[in-house]
Assembly symmetry: C2
């Protein structure tokens, strides 16, 4: 039986979280401790971020990946916290860049404390992340994490360049999400094995797993924005449309559309003609051309690559959990 024919009943996120619960409690405690500062404003924003919660998917990957190739201990907790800090830092800056009002259903930090504080506290979090990396003292892990931080920033700038440009190709778009989303998933999955002392094959397996999981995750996110179960998304259907964001459903619908329909998309995305009536029309075009289903099909494709990447790993509950994370990410929309 090949791994893609796996017929185990998939664990939901709660079961995966319960497997990782002792580790994640340690990670959370560490996050709280390392977010504290003598500067009151940093503590306030940090509290806001912590209480907003989120799934802590990325730090969980560090733990699962570490266990899957050997063992995971306090250094993994530190790396998991670092990954969450890098992620949160990019969220704070993203919200400023995208002028977002809501994140996970709550007001963004920039709406409460302003853009200035969001930029600077984001910088603080990144600085803390680097200090904590140095404490771990592994130059290999530092290499992976610093490269990821740099690639993420490069991806964000690239996204700004393609923003509101309807000629963006699917490949252009993949370059963006590979850098701005998948690179951190890949780094999270790779540093676990590095610190666990895994061999090159184990590291590469998990790096590939993380990269492809990240692509699937982002594509599902893009699909959710034009439909699907938006319950745990903390954002409304059409947010991306209203912000003029180019995502795969839009790219596919545009490329498959008639001359008039392409005109509609250019007006909507490039010129900001994006009221509710136009959102309705956009949803109609996305359905007409199967753009949502095909976005999900692409996500499934990357999910399968992620699953196959895990083949060399020993069969453990941790490996099962890593597979279940793929299912969970995709089940959000399917």
């Amino acid at each position: 039986m090949t791994i893609t024919e796996d017929t185990r009943p998939a664990l939901g996120l709660p079961q995966i979280q319960s497997l990782a619960a002792p580790d994640m409690a340690a990670v959370d405690a560490l996050i709280r401790r390392r977010l504290s500062s003598d500067v009151v404003l940093i503590n306030q924003i940090a509290d806001h971020i912590i209480s907003a919660g989120g799934k802590r998917l990325r730090p969980m990957l560090v733990m699962l990946a570490g266990h899957a190739v050997g063992q995971a201990g306090p250094e993994h907790h530190q790396l998991a916290a670092i990954i969450e800090f890098i992620h949160t830092s990019t969220l704070l800056h993203d919200d400023v860049v995208d002028e977002s009002d809501l994140r996970r259903g709550k007001s963004t930090a920039r709406m409460i404390w302003g853009n200035q504080a969001s930029v600077l506290v984001g910088d603080f979090l990144l600085g803390q992340a680097f200090r904590m990396m140095v404490e771990v003292g592994s130059l290999e892990a530092l290499d992976v994490l610093s490269a990821a931080a740099s690639v993420i920033a490069e991806g964000e700038v690239l996204q700004l360049s393609v923003a509101k440009n309807m000629e963006t190709t699917e490949d252009d778009y993949l370059s963006v999400i590979r850098a701005k989303t998948a690179a951190l998933f890949a780094a999270a999955a790779e540093v676990g094995p590095i610190i666990a002392g895994a061999d090159k094959a184990g590291r590469n397996a998990l790096k590939s797993y993380g990269m492809n999981l990240g692509l699937a995750f982002q594509l599902v996110d893009d699909a959710l924005d034009y439909g699907g179960k938006a319950v745990d998304l903390g954002k409304n259907v059409g947010d991306d449309f209203r912000e003029g964001k180019i995502t795969l459903p839009v790219i596919l619908a545009y490329r498959r559309g008639t001359k008039e329909e392409r005109e509609f998309w250019r007006d909507a995305i490039e010129q900001g003609q994006n009221d509710d009536a136009r959102l309705e029309k956009a949803l109609g075009l996305i359905t007409k051309y199967g753009a949502l289903n095909d976005t999900i099909a692409r996500a499934l494709h990357y999910g399968t690559i992620a699953r196959d990447a895990l083949a060399p790993l020993p069969e453990t509950e941790w490996k099962s959990a890593l597979m279940d994370v793929i299912d969970f990410c995709i089940a959000r929309v399917n």
Copy 2:
């Protein structure tokens, strides 16, 4: 003869720069190479930053400090470029936070490419800096530089907290500039000796030199904003006043003023009543209470500490140059 009675004719910046010229040419080449990216927008903004130039004071400190305790080679060039990247990253974010239009007499990046690009390219530069640190491979240098990056960000947030609060004390203000300006000077002066393999005494001497030089540098900058030779400053007298920034001249004039004068300062700084007539009045009050002279006196005080910190170092042309940097920083205003 103690070092404070030093009667050598001080070198001007051109002579110091000429001593460091071969090193700085290598640093500049490295900066150009490491700023290049596949992302066009990054290259554009990078070119803008490079051509804006500046004195490259911080990277020069890396080179001078390295030579002063032994030797400086390619790893010092790399560290010097890293220091300049961290500095430039904070400038890009500062300009967004302060909503500044001009920097070194040229339009800021945010005026040309917008706040979004400035935030993200700043993130990219910081990411590049960390990647380059990892390449150097010294955990000691990484420790110093990552701590500095974190402290700078913390200082920026702290500055935001004290902004527009006239009850800010001189000590509060010193905490801010110690973190946001002097910490990077200290790191620049300390990593040179670390990579040169200097002993603890040499490292500490140069760290202390850098920290106190940084304080003097910032205080002189503050003074220049309310007078003095603004030629090479690239900003106009009164910019800080118009932005409602609290600096030492304002703190001293406020604390020494009458009840009515304090009211004036609160209206100006806290309420934004800062037209040209009020700037005239502010300059008058600063003169009346000797606030500018005393700010310069504080700068001289830290300059003297920086000078004494160098005592353990052997007498070389590099040590002389480090002393001359103090004189240059203070001579900008005196």
